[in-house]
């Protein structure tokens, strides 16, 4: 699993990245009440706003941690947005992206580096 400074995570399998927000991000957001996942087929560039996660209080952008084409969105979050809080780094994934530039993943932080980064916040 790789991480961004914006608190997204990425797991790559066969050239497809599963993307979600980290446990830290979910805890900071508080109770998630709505998730807007990207449309399947959409092409995203690294750093684009590609999903929105909403708590009672506010809406927050989720940025694409990698570039590519959205090949699947987590439809379960529509009825159960609280999954993002319950299992942010597992069942609470947002979307799957077919990588256009696999090298982007290598440049992301590993868990050790991400935890060190959290320590600076």
């Amino acid at each position: 699993m790789r991480f961004t400074k914006d608190h997204e995570w990425v797991v790559v399998e066969d050239g497809v990245a599963t993307v979600g927000i980290t446990a830290y991000a979910a805890e900071q957001l508080g109770d998630v009440v709505f998730v807007e996942t990207p449309d399947v087929g959409k092409t995203v560039s690294q750093g684009d706003s590609f999903a929105v996660v909403e708590s009672v209080k506010a809406a927050s952008d989720v940025y694409a941690p990698v570039s590519g084409e959205v090949v699947e969105a987590n439809g379960d979050l529509g009825d159960a947005p609280e999954t993002v809080n319950a299992a942010p780094e597992h069942a609470g994934w947002f979307a799957k992206v077919k990588l256009s530039d696999p090298a982007e993943v290598e440049a992301l932080m590993d868990r050790h580096a991400y935890e060190a980064y959290l320590g600076t916040l």
């Binding site: 109770d31 009440v33 807007e36 929105v52 909403e54 009672v56 209080k57």
Partner: protein, 370 residues
């Protein structure tokens, strides 16, 4: 604004110790939520009793030869007719009939008029009152007092143990009394739609009163996040969002704050505009919206009619924890304001179905008689 320049209420340390997430609000560092989070804090208040620090709000005494009649020069309320021990919701109005702030005015004792105004507006409000009523009232700001709100269906039972007299009060009564062993000004009111009290105590006693209330297992500390979702469900406007200097009491559907007597006399700022809007209808009116599909519509989202024509804007909105759906308030032309009117809200470029619904969204539970 950096943390260094933010003011702190007398309860700042208690919030930090309780694990609050502190945010800037109205120039103060305030708790937006505690460890439970907004959702649980909201529901706790609706089911039990929530304790809020609202010490950022502006408390003052207006004194003078006849402060009640003087206050009528800046508000449309019947303050001359305000009985001893009574409190009234009112509005500071500018000469165009726009709302400078909303406030509570009360007579807890014989010491002039006790007013509580919004924290973000307080400096401007007191300057405005001082300018408009120069020579008629002296304003003493009570900056050495904290303000706590205890809200929820179990608030009365909790309060009775510490202030037996409070149990004899009804909604919108306000009395100076000895409570928690100190001199308190207690009103049976609040801004959540629930029964409850607002309790003004000396700043030096605030920690002790706060801690005493939290010893009761029915009481939990509640942050400003839940305060906002509670007042939204209660259909109560938030100054600076749902009402401002451009909105009139008629547009904001706060005509109950324009007393019959004052309406007839037309002797308050902006009376001509308000009389005209009462007779002919305003150009826009505040409504409640239930969001039927899609993302919550928040402040600034456009409201469109069924044909897609933009007819207004959302002034506050979000997820309603007690209803399990998103709700909003906003302004639309009166012709589109009837309950049941199908509208749309535009969020991030997508139109979601919405419907005009009656407010309060969640029935209020004020105790109007004992």
């Amino acid at each position: 604004m950096t943390d260094e320049t933010l003011k702190q209420t007398p309860l700042y340390e208690a919030h930090v110790a309780a694990g609050a997430r502190m945010v800037p609000f109205a120039g103060y560092s305030m708790p937006v939520q505690y460890r439970d989070g907004v959702l649980k804090e909201h529901l706790w208040t609706r089911e039990h009793a929530g304790l809020f620090d609202v010490s950022h709000m502006g408390q003052a005494r207006l004194r003078g030869v006849s402060p009640l009649s003087a206050f009528e020069e800046v508000t449309p309320g019947d303050f001359i007719g305000l009985g001893a021990g009574k409190q009234r919701y009112s509005l500071l109005l500018n000469k165009k009939g726009g709302i400078v702030d909303d406030l509570m005015g009360a007579r807890p004792d014989d010491d002039g008029l006790f007013v509580v105004v919004n924290g973000a507006c307080k400096d401007g409000d007191f300057k405005f009152i001082d300018n408009e009523l120069a020579g008629q009232v002296r304003i003493e700001r009570l900056e050495d007092r904290a303000l706590l709100a205890l809200q929820g269906p179990e608030a009365a039972a909790v309060m009775a143990a510490h202030a037996p007299e409070a149990a004899t009060m009804v909604f919108m009564e306000c009395r100076a009394m000895t409570a928690f062993g100190t001199d308190a000004i207690v009103s049976r009111s609040g801004y959540t739609g629930e029964d409850g009290y607002e309790i003004s105590v000396p700043a030096a006693e605030a920690h002790r009163v706060w801690a005493t209330l939290l010893e009761d297992e029915r009481v939990r500390p509640i942050g400003l996040g839940a305060r906002d979702s509670l007042r939204l469900e209660a259909g109560l406007p938030l100054y600076g969002h749902d009402i401002d200097e451009t909105t009139s009491p008629v547009e904001a559907v706060l005509t109950f704050a324009v007393s019959k007597k004052r309406r007839d006399a037309q002797d308050f700022p902006g009376a001509a505009r308000i009389a005209r809007e009462l007779a002919e209808g305003p150009s826009r009116v505040r409504v409640g919206l239930k969001i039927l599909e899609g993302a919550p519509a928040r402040e600034g989202a456009e409201i469109a009619d069924a044909n897609g024509e933009v007819i207004g804007k959302v002034t506050s909105g979000g997820f309603a924890p007690s209803l399990g759906c998103a709700i909003a308030m906003g302004y639309v032309p009166p012709a589109r304001s009837a309950v049941g009117t199908a509208l749309r809200v535009i969020v991030r470029g997508k139109a979601g179905a919405a419907e005009v619904v009656a407010t309060p969204f969640v029935p209020n539970r004020y105790v109007r008689k004992l």
